[in-house]
Amino acid sequence: MSGALDDYLIDPDLSLLDKTRIQAQVLVPVLQALRAELGKQRADALVKDTLRDWSRRLFADIARSIDGTPRRKWAAIQKVFGEVSSREVEYEILRHDERALDIDITRCRFAEFFRALDEPELGSLLMCAADFDIAAAGEGEVSLERAQTIMQGAPSCTFRYKFAPR
């Protein structure tokens, strides 16, 4: 696979949940210190901007490092992330064909971890938002809508991918 993706995953033997826990362990104290200094609203806005930018750039770099059509780039990244995150979730595939992929996640250990920390917004930024950045690798050939997530408190995450006709 690509160097940029390998760099991101760092250690393929380490679960994505553990990797995320390590990052949360270092980010949460920094976030708390920033909130104390800047106020919650300002600190959270800064964190949001920062982590969204980081994730967008990261997945754009990964997409660039993969050859092929946008659809192929998306499929390649999705395959790797699907594999590493599927260990941590329970899901149901409702539809999977040429035009659409509908998945409901019914249990998510990432959400359980961040909700237990009382930092679901950080979890949304670190984890959930990446799905849209990965979909962006599909450059219009793939689109994602997701009305709700477990991280935000819903009972399920409703992933609805649509694929443009080939």
């Binding site: 990052q23 270092v26 980010l27 964190v47 980081w54």
Partner: protein, 155 residues
């Protein structure tokens, strides 16, 4: 949030850095190097001191424990080090190769490496043992040929 995940220390630091680097860069861009940088540095110091306390429980909070820590946790894949002097009251070693520095240098971010990696060591020692101090006149991260770690028990 004190549970340890059993992976090499180098990997752990790299994973942390992937999240911290963009964060600190954005803060610098927005607020300059001033108070916000100090807030972040203080938060990192606090977590380094906690880590030092956990390591002291695991290895013993004395000079012998420090050597075990340096050789088994830091050294495992991350550092090449040569012990030049050791007694009950002091431990001196030189790091001759540092893959942490190589990681930050490859990204062109040695100054951040100093902030979020090297600077942790002093805070870590305060958590590890109240009566041991670290002096270090140079580091590979800053471009020196070796890092000269000199730990000694305070008089």
């Amino acid at each position: 949030m004190t549970d340890e995940i059993a992976i090499p220390h180098l990997q752990k630091r790299k994973i942390e850095a992937r999240a911290l680097i963009p964060f600190i860069m954005a803060c610098r861009e927005k607020f300059g190097d001033g108070p916000t940088g100090e807030v972040i540095a203080a938060a990192i110091d606090a977590s380094a001191a906690e880590e030092g306390a956990r390591w002291a429980e695991r290895f013993g909070g004395d000079i012998a424990g420090l050597r075990t820590l340096a050789e088994t946790v830091w050294g495992a894949g991350g550092l090449d080090l040569e012990v030049v002097d050791e007694s009950a009251d002091r431990l001196a070693f030189n790091v001759t190769r540092c893959r942490y520095a190589e990681f930050f240098k490859a990204l062109g971010l040695q100054d951040l490496g100093r902030l979020i990696h090297c600077n942790r060591d002093r805070a870590m020692v305060t958590g590890f043992a109240g009566d041991i101090e670290l002096s270090r006149s140079q580091t590979i991260m800053q471009g020196a040929a070796c890092c000269d770690f000199r730990f000694r028990r305070k008089a």
